[in-house]
Point group: C2
């Protein structure tokens, strides 16, 4: 219940998150997380990945479930289309990160969400990855995310929710700012 007497439930435990923030402010070592995946080449461009353990709160964390993913290229690239392409995984990561953030911020701001849907599209000129034109980058030239949000709030408050989610999104930061990647063999 809020001062206005309105009870909002977006399914996000904001008290736990605020408690975590306070706890981790006093124990910065516990805030150091390691997220992981393991990938096995199957055949051609098809690979199979698993996501299970991670490290955080000062210790190894194991889930009840192992999440599994197939990645491949589509048939127009003479592949077998056994899974989403790697770049589509990035789009799923970005849209799901922003969407979780919208729910968490809405809960914290006492805004009841009814529905949130996003369509996300990344433009890519294949002249990059095919090595046709060295001036063309391999990745996306740009990404557009379009939200349709039905919530018990004014339009400006809904826009502010989305802006705050961008500000605190891990994947938005990964995509918009450079990250150092080290690749080792054996």
């Amino acid at each position: 219940m809020t001062a206005a007497g309105k009870t909002v439930n977006n399914g996000v435990n904001v008290e736990a998150l605020l408690g975590a923030r306070e706890a981790l402010t006093n124990a910065p070592e516990a805030a150091r997380f390691k997220w992981r995946a393991a990938t096995e080449w199957k055949n051609g461009t098809h690979s199979h990945s698993t996501v299970e353990s991670f490290y955080g709160l000062g210790e190894e964390q194991r889930r009840k479930t192992t999440f599994t993913f197939n990645a491949d290229h589509p048939e127009v690239f003479a592949s077998e289309d056994k899974g989403a392409t790697p770049v589509e995984y990035v789009l799923v990561g970005l849209a799901s990160c922003l969407t979780a953030g919208i729910a968490a911020v809405a809960q914290n701001r006492n805004i009841q969400l009814r529905s949130v849907t996003a369509t996300i599209e990344g433009d890519m000129d294949l002249q990059g990855i095919l090595g046709i034109d060295e001036e063309v980058r391999n990745g996306f030239s740009g990404i557009t995310v379009k939200y349709v949000i039905d919530a018990d709030a004014k339009r400006e408050d809904i826009e502010a929710l989305v802006a705050q989610s961008q500000k605190r999104s891990a994947v938005y930061d990964i995509v918009t700012s450079p990250t150092n990647v080290t690749v080792l063999v054996n």
Copy 2:
């Protein structure tokens, strides 16, 4: 068969890829692709995404299969762990992109792969996304990918395979270089 009489099969149709490169050199408009996902908020930090259509070769492309993905936060964040976290999706995308590239480059270089596995780990200080320390970024402070590759090739040739895959990887580029993201509401 090669000049050395060795037949290599990694399941990658390199002739088709080289043909595509030639065709797209002469028809740059066909090289402009759009990759997509659609994401629906379910409850809390849980969302459900679908990947199906894309645009390329000058027209809408539809797959036989719709790929579906759940994303969520783990129980230590007071969530229900109904799917991998958004940042783990990025790790799956990066490892699967580099792995597909290794297979394609190996085929082109006449190197028979026997097995390729990767473990990928991203370091993240949660003081960023929790807003504890403005100096800490929201995303990964760094990512390390470790490959174990069994192939019919010298170590230096295997290392060169991995280096070439990085050079041509869409997701490696997305993670290591900034991409413009536009987020629109309604």
